[in-house]
């Protein structure tokens, strides 16, 4: 995968760019879920620059790898990655949430190239992904289906139905990635519905599981380059992440599940991200 405008950017620089977009988008839109968007930036950047076989100039290419953002509420950074990859103009990001925009507050496929399916209600994506993976198997196609879930989403019973189903059908072309940022809507995951030991749960259902630092590019790429982890088994990546990652005062704070960066907080967040840019000597 190579996109001209990105060729000179390091992964770190691209991630910072995505974070800047995310802060600007959620600020302009007065939108929630900035923390959920920020926690999966490294995962998205590695997926779209290193792993996914996709073609931004031909988003409906039949042999493409499928990516489903089941945690559709985190779509700000997802839209930003798609735009920077060239699926649609970066200017569209300015319209996020706005009247007449294509970019709704949850990942939406209509008129947005690169968005595989619309999501927004939790607990839907993995079943659809499993259906796509099953169809690929039956048709002898080599594409893979990736599905990004949130941790809070795993409270939904409907998540565990495809977790049961996929190993039964040996869907080793299916990859679930859990953005395990440990905070959900009303509290810390361990205080709401504790998922631990999450990797063991998936493993006991028949998935091949790897755990990674979800902010470490090298680790993420190394793990996602080994798919499938075991032939005949679906793969699960438990990505340990930090909600609000990249903006110090948002990190690991429940507040930033819903709060939108405004006023001084917006300025401070941008200043912090721009500081990173200066460190990286790009302007």
């Amino acid at each position: 995968m190579s996109v001209k405008s990105l060729e000179n950017l390091s992964l770190e620089e691209l991630a910072h760019k995505i974070r800047r977009h995310t802060i600007e988008m959620t600020h302009r839109a007065k939108a929630s879920h900035v923390g959920s968007s920020l926690s999966m930036v490294e995962l998205l950047v590695v997926l779209y620059t290193k792993i996914l076989r996709v073609d931004p100039t031909n988003p409906d290419w039949p042999e493409r790898d499928r990516f489903i953002l089941s945690k559709g509420h985190g779509c700000a950074s997802y839209y930003a990655v798609l735009a920077e990859m060239g699926f649609f103009p970066v200017e569209w990001l300015e319209t996020f949430y706005q009247n007449g925009s294509r970019l709704a507050g949850h990942a939406t496929h209509t008129y947005v190239p690169g968005v595989e399916i619309s999501t927004g209600s939790l607990g839907h994506g993995l079943s659809v992904a499993a259906g796509m993976a099953l169809a690929a198997k039956r048709d002898g196609k080599s594409y893979r289906v990736f599905c990004m879930l949130s941790d809070g989403e795993c409270d939904e019973g409907s998540v565990w139905e495809p977790i049961l189903f996929a190993p039964q059908h040996r869907l080793d072309n299916l990859i679930a990635i859990v953005d395990y940022n440990k905070i959900q809507s009303l509290g810390r995951v361990e205080e709401v519905i504790d998922l631990a030991p999450l990797a063991d749960k998936w493993r006991s259902f028949g998935w091949a599981v790897r755990e990674v630092d979800g902010h470490n590019f090298g680790e993420i790429e190394a793990v996602l380059s080994q798919l499938p982890f075991e032939p005949g088994k679906p793969s699960c990546v438990i990505a340990h992440t930090v909600k609000g990652k990249g903006v110090s005062f948002m990190e690991d704070k429940l507040l930033w599940h819903y709060r939108s960066p405004q006023g001084d907080e917006y300025e401070a967040a941008l200043a912090e991200l721009n500081g990173h840019d200066h460190e990286n000597r790009i302007h």
């Binding site: 496929h109 399916i117 619309s118 999501t119 927004g120 209600s121 607990g123 839907h124 993995l126 079943s127 659809v128 992904a129 499993a130 259906g131 796509m132 993976a133 099953l134 169809a135 690929a136 039956r138 048709d139 019973g157 409907s158 139905e161 495809p162 049961l164 189903f165 039964q168 059908h169």
Partner: protein
């Protein structure tokens, strides 16, 4: 062939699937003895999702978005109400080629109780964008609807009976999704029926004929999109329009017909929705028994028609019945 609606569906689907590898049947661990041949002879086009209707429905959407024509199959409310949000978001929003097929529409599973009575499904499905709603009136219509759904683009709901719906059509009628079939001519009133009550409705028309009332019978196998021309013609050509459905009168065929008439400004002299009154059944019994108790068998339909026409009190009809 075509003696049982459920069999008409599965046999037709099996024959079509043998020729068209895009067709996939996904079941929710139900259909013992019914889907067996499909499962054994076309294993690559069959999936048992287990007792997990939400996953069944999401899987179906994913497969449909990968080029398949997917039929989900289970009984009564299970493939409909349980995974309603998957139907709305994953299937309808993506205009995916999934056909949701419940067997046992209405009170076909009578004695099993209200958990198994699919009596609000048409209303719910009708409200969903992109969804086409079909309730065949007999096994012949079930076969024709199944065929028509292969070429149809987008989601559809195919509400089947279970067993025992008699064949109404002695020859193969012209079948088109969204186009009603006139089963019996009549100039006095029109009975518009959807689903498995078609036979009772035809019988009701025969009984009414004995008392000098000539009833047109229209099989409205497609509730959405509704054949508004047939509805308006009924109201213009005859004195009264009666809808007949094994479903709540709230939101089903009767509501669709009423909406059409009122918005068109065409007011029949008599209008009545014949169906269930929107309460859970408090009675236990077979479909036949429950239909009779709730006035949905031929004598019950006749009684309601006459009451609305002001001809005879219900009690007289009942006593004669």
């Amino acid at each position: 062939m075509d003696t049982i609606m459920r069999t008409a569906f599965i046999d037709t689907l099996f024959e079509l699937a043998k020729e068209d590898p895009r067709i996939v049947l996904v079941v929710g661990d139900l259909g013992f003895g019914v889907v067996t041949r499909f499962m054994e002879e076309l294993p690559d086009q069959f999936v048992n999702a287990g007792v997990a209707e939400q996953n069944m429905t999401g899987l179906a959407a994913g497969m449909a978005l990968s080029g398949k024509i997917v039929f989900t199959y289970s009984i009564a409310n299970f493939p409909v109400l349980r995974p309603l949000e998957q139907i709305r978001n994953d299937i309808c929003y993506h205009n995916a080629n999934v056909r949701i097929v419940p067997v046992g529409g209405g009170m076909a599973y009578g004695s099993l109780g209200p958990s198994h009575h699919a009596t609000e499904d048409i209303a719910v499905m009708r409200a969903l964008p992109n969804m086409v709603v079909i309730a065949p009136g007999d096994p012949v219509e079930a076969r024709l609807a199944t065929k028509a759904l292969i070429e149809h683009q987008g989601p559809a709901y195919l509400r089947l009976g279970r067993a025992g719906e008699p064949v109404v059509h002695s020859s193969t009628p012209d079948f088109e999704i969204g186009r009603a079939i006139t089963v019996r001519q009549g100039s006095d009133i029109t009975l518009i029926s959807t689903g498995g009550l078609l036979h009772e409705t035809v019988q009701a028309a025969e009984l009414l004929a004995e008392t000098g009332i000539q009833a047109r019978v229209v099989s409205m196998h497609t509730v959405k999109p509704l054949d508004t021309e047939a509805v308006l013609a009924a109201a213009r050509d005859t004195e009264g329009v009666f809808t007949v459905e094994e479903h709540s009168v709230i939101g089903g065929l009767g509501s669709a017909v009423a909406e059409t008439l009122l918005e068109a400004g065409v007011y029949p002299r008599y209008f009545k929705r014949i169906g269930l009154n929107g309460e859970f059944s408090s009675l236990v019994g077979t479909q036949e028994y429950l239909r009779a108790q709730y006035g949905l068998d031929a004598p019950g339909i006749v009684a309601t028609v006459k009451q609305i026409l002001g001809i005879e009190p219900v009690s007289i009809i009942r006593a004669r019945g």
